[in-house]
């Protein structure tokens, strides 16, 4: 009789780590999930802000020139002045953006713009297709530089999850 009681007592009171480990793992996985939800929301908000402040407004500045270049034969003499006016507006806008995103490399953007517009001024004759292709590649370069510097370099968040190097290339 004594042996029977002793046996059942030992079975009910023996200590096991398994449930404790399971609880700890569950808590950790909940914390990780919440942290990743927080990270993804934060990235989403920062992206939306960047899209609205930077990309949408810049696209609006480019819009009328985009339409002219898409539909018409371009006269170089007229386009020289128009390119200067457009890209001065672009530079002004990006210069103001550096107040929000101070690491945007405005000098590199200006260097690229001057490279293209100075080419226009040097030439006395240029085919519409050459003007258009130069314009499109400059526009892409500007957007690419903005994404690189404003997003990748501003976000310590990306650095934390190891994306900074890839994005900043």
């Amino acid at each position: 009789m004594y042996k029977f009681y002793n046996y059942t007592y030992q079975n009910h009171t023996s200590f096991s780590w398994v449930p404790i480990i399971a609880i700890v793992i569950s808590i950790l996985s909940i914390i990780c999930s919440l942290y990743f939800i927080y990270l993804s929301k934060r990235i989403e908000i920062i992206n939306t802000k960047f899209q609205k402040f930077c990309i949408s407004n810049l696209e609006e500045i480019f819009k009328s020139t985009d339409q002219k270049l898409a539909n018409n034969v371009i006269m170089l003499d007229i386009f020289k002045k128009e390119a200067t006016d457009l890209f001065v507006e672009v530079q002004l806008y990006i210069t103001m953006l550096t107040k929000i995103y101070p690491k945007i490399d405005i000098r590199e953007i200006i260097r690229n713009i001057e490279e293209y517009t100075d080419q226009l001024y040097k030439k006395s004759d240029l085919e519409s297709i050459e003007i258009r292709s130069g314009y499109i590649s400059l526009k892409l370069k500007i957007f690419s530089l903005l994404y690189d510097y404003a997003l990748a370099k501003e976000l310590s968040l990306f650095a934390r999850i190891g994306l900074k190097k890839n994005l900043a290339k």
């Binding site: 001065v88 210069t95 550096t98 405005i106 517009t117 100075d118």
Partner: protein, 108 residues
């Protein structure tokens, strides 16, 4: 403070050239006319641009012309004490927009 006129019309030769461009050219021209020294000597510089001769000026030239001035004087208010543009409203606005860009660049 005495006024010195600098005529940018002399930089074009219509009908062969009627536009001005190039940051390097702007920097060289600033050296040639000793722009910074003239300003440091407390002169007021009046740039004259006649739209009949000068059809377009690229912003690269303006940035080259004034980069040393903004490196030293930093703000548009200070630069305007020494520089004046005599020309169409278009050219006045173009110069002022580029001064604003230079001011922001050199005040970072």
């Amino acid at each position: 403070m005495s006024q010195i006129d600098i005529n940018l019309n002399t930089l074009v030769d219509p009908p062969h050239t009627d536009s001005i461009s190039g940051r390097g050219f702007g920097e060289e021209y600033a050296k040639t006319i000793e722009l910074l020294q003239k300003i440091e000597s407390n002169n007021k510089i009046n740039f004259i641009i006649d739209s009949q001769y000068v059809k377009a000026i690229n912003d690269s030239f303006i940035k080259g012309l004034f980069s040393k001035i903004f490196q030293k004087y930093k703000t548009i208010e200070e630069v305007k004490k020494h520089i004046q543009i005599t020309g169409s409203d278009y050219f006045k606005r173009l110069f002022e927009k580029n001064w604003l860009i230079l001011q922001e660049i050199y005040n970072v």
